[in-house]
Amino acid sequence: MMSGETLLSLIDLRKWYRIKRGLFGRIEYIRAVDGVSFTLNKGEAVSLVGESGSGKTTLGRTILGLEKPTSGKIIFEGKDLTELDSKTMSWYRRETGFVQQDPFGALPPFMTIMRILEEPMIINKIEKKERRERIYKALEEVRLTPVEDYLKKYPHMLSGGQQQRVVIARAIILNPKLIIADEPVSMLDASVRIEILTLLRELQKKHDLGIIYITHDLSTTRYFSEWIYVMYAGKIIEKARTQEMLKNPSHPYTKALLQAIPDPDAKNRFIFREIPPGEPPSLINPPKGCRFHPRCVFAIKGLCDRKEPPEINIEKDHLVSCWLYADSNK
């Protein structure tokens, strides 16, 4: 469905966590990621949107190789990562960067900024002279200038926005091709958020980076990604180009999400928003059929609660997993 050069593809990826419950250790699984497939092109950003517990963070961690997939394939630049040895894995780690939610938690408090940025290069045996050059370049790119002012500082001496810049600098210092940003701005102030997202967007364009931007906030996706994928209960339920998704949301869940977000407007205080009842399902025993059906007002009895909906192409580059769009409803 996409043009351009493929950077990453996921094929029916699953990550289940095994848990034991009860006296006799009944074994059950938390199906955090349950059959996710997509492709990401070089230099494109995709927003992965979902509520907490939808599995978006687990998906991010699985793609990064921090979690071993239960089944399915991750293919990066044509190499299958599920069958890899430690050598390819360390190559893959160099090619990916991670920006986490809590910048302060992500930075070791006892290291200076210089040391924090040097660490990944020491591990990857980059020479001292080059290390210095790269640190300067990275800090300039995230606009922590003059660089000398920051090198000797410790993370706690920086503001939240500046800390997040250091995290981004560390993520790009090995010149990766893919960045996974997991809620990179949700702990920052509203005005700083835009600053950090703008920065990420610039770096993406400049270095032709692929970015997976994991967020629960649909309103920021509009400016910072080419694609929006909506995740619900371990599955991606709708995929579309950003503008198309915002203009023409099709899955009942996506519609509800969009409807729930207010733009500043004095009229808002007089209207009640239509919100689907209930809460996202448990990932241990997800509902049969479509996982959204218990909350869906359009649910078709005997179909949505029985059979899992197929992914239906309703428009160019717009896929939705919902029975409402199946021609024959069968």
Binding site: E51, L218, P264
Partner: protein, 319 residues
């Protein structure tokens, strides 16, 4: 209906620190009518939570200065002693839903009992009547009655937030301060809670003071908006005027930084960082970040009164 029953006049609250007082609330004045909601918006560190705590007198120990006037139905609450305030006002006429309140429930007490507790303590109601009242409040906030016997860990985030709101409601207060009531919640749960607050507002004559950094969210409830910057209110006005045409350069910047879903505009960010509240300059506090900075801005800007109760603290609007 113009019944300004709650008036704050020249309120100051400074914290003592080793390097000097933090001027968290630095001369704040506003008033609310009965049944009206005031949204207080601003970035973190601008003093909005400190203002909330000053209003309900939940002050930290290192308070250096706490002065000004808070009138409730004409009576100056600042003249009340600590024990009088606690006995008659706190949680009873003014209550609060604190930030990150989700985790403030006691894990080993059933939620029904926790909600009923203020009645038992303040009003010396017997437990049975108190639980009966708790049941009423639970149904008002949309928690199934059966949940009254559950423990906090058995409730989802949204249900816990409803419990906290029930707790703030049980004494029938006239004002509830909502400090970031939905910041820890998911989008849909957040919209649900906002629906609930709208319903409570419609069905009672309660006034809310909604504190948030989320401008879009503030418009869900606000009749009036106050923008806070560096310990001061820099703009105050009706929601209708404010959301369509903010006047203070900071308000304008703040509004421009909001990513919108339905309107096509690229959000901008505000360059620079908010200043320290330890020794704020005599000049306009926003001057260093302001695109319209003039020579006169090195002097403290006046509070300019415009039509319909609108106020701006800015030289641009001074005649």
């Amino acid at each position: 209906m113009s019944d300004e029953f709650f008036e704050v006049e020249d309120l100051y609250m400074y914290y003592r620190t080793r390097i000097g007082p933090v001027k968290a609330v630095d001369g704040v004045s506003f008033s609310i009518n009965r049944g009206e909601t005031l949204a207080l918006i601003g970035e973190s560190g601008c003093g909005k939570s400190s203002l909330a705590k000053s209003l309900i007198r939940l002050l930290p120990r290192n308070v250096e200065i706490f002065k000004g006037h808070i009138y409730l139905d004409g009576e100056d609450l600042m003249k009340m002693s600590e024990s009088q305030f606690r006995k008659n006002i706190q949680w009873q006429r003014i209550s609060m839903v604190a930030q990150a309140a989700l985790n403030s429930l006691n894990p080993v007490i059933k939620v029904g009992e926790q909600v009923a507790e203020p009645l038992i303590i303040h009003k010396e109601v017997d437990k049975k009547t108190a639980l009966e009242r708790a049941r009423e409040v639970f149904s008002l906030v949309g928690i199934p009655e059966a949940f009254i016997d559950r423990y906090p860990f058995e409730l989802s985030g949204g249900m816990r937030q409803r419990t906290i709101i029930a707790m703030a409601l049980i004494m029938n207060p006239e004002i509830i301060i909502l400090d970031e009531p939905t910041s820890a919640l998911d989008v849909l749960t957040q919209a649900n809670i906002m629906n609930l607050l709208k319903k409570i507002r419609n069905e009672s004559n309660i006034s809310f003071i909604l504190i948030t950094h989320d401008v879009g969210l503030s418009s869900e409830l606000a009749d009036k908006v106050a923008v806070m910057y560096a310990g001061q209110i820099v703009e105050l006005g009706d929601a209708e005027n404010f959301y369509s045409s903010p006047l203070h350069p900071y308000s304008q910047k703040l509004m421009a930084s909001v990513p919108t879903l339905r309107r096509d505009k690229t959000p901008e960010y505000i360059p620079g960082a908010p200043l320290s509240l330890i020794n704020p300059p005599k000049s306009c506090r926003f001057a260093d970040r302001c695109p319209f900075k003039m020579e006169i801005c090195s002097k403290e800007p006046p509070v300019v009164s415009l039509e319909k109760g609108r106020f701006v603290r800015c030289w641009l609007h001074a005649k």
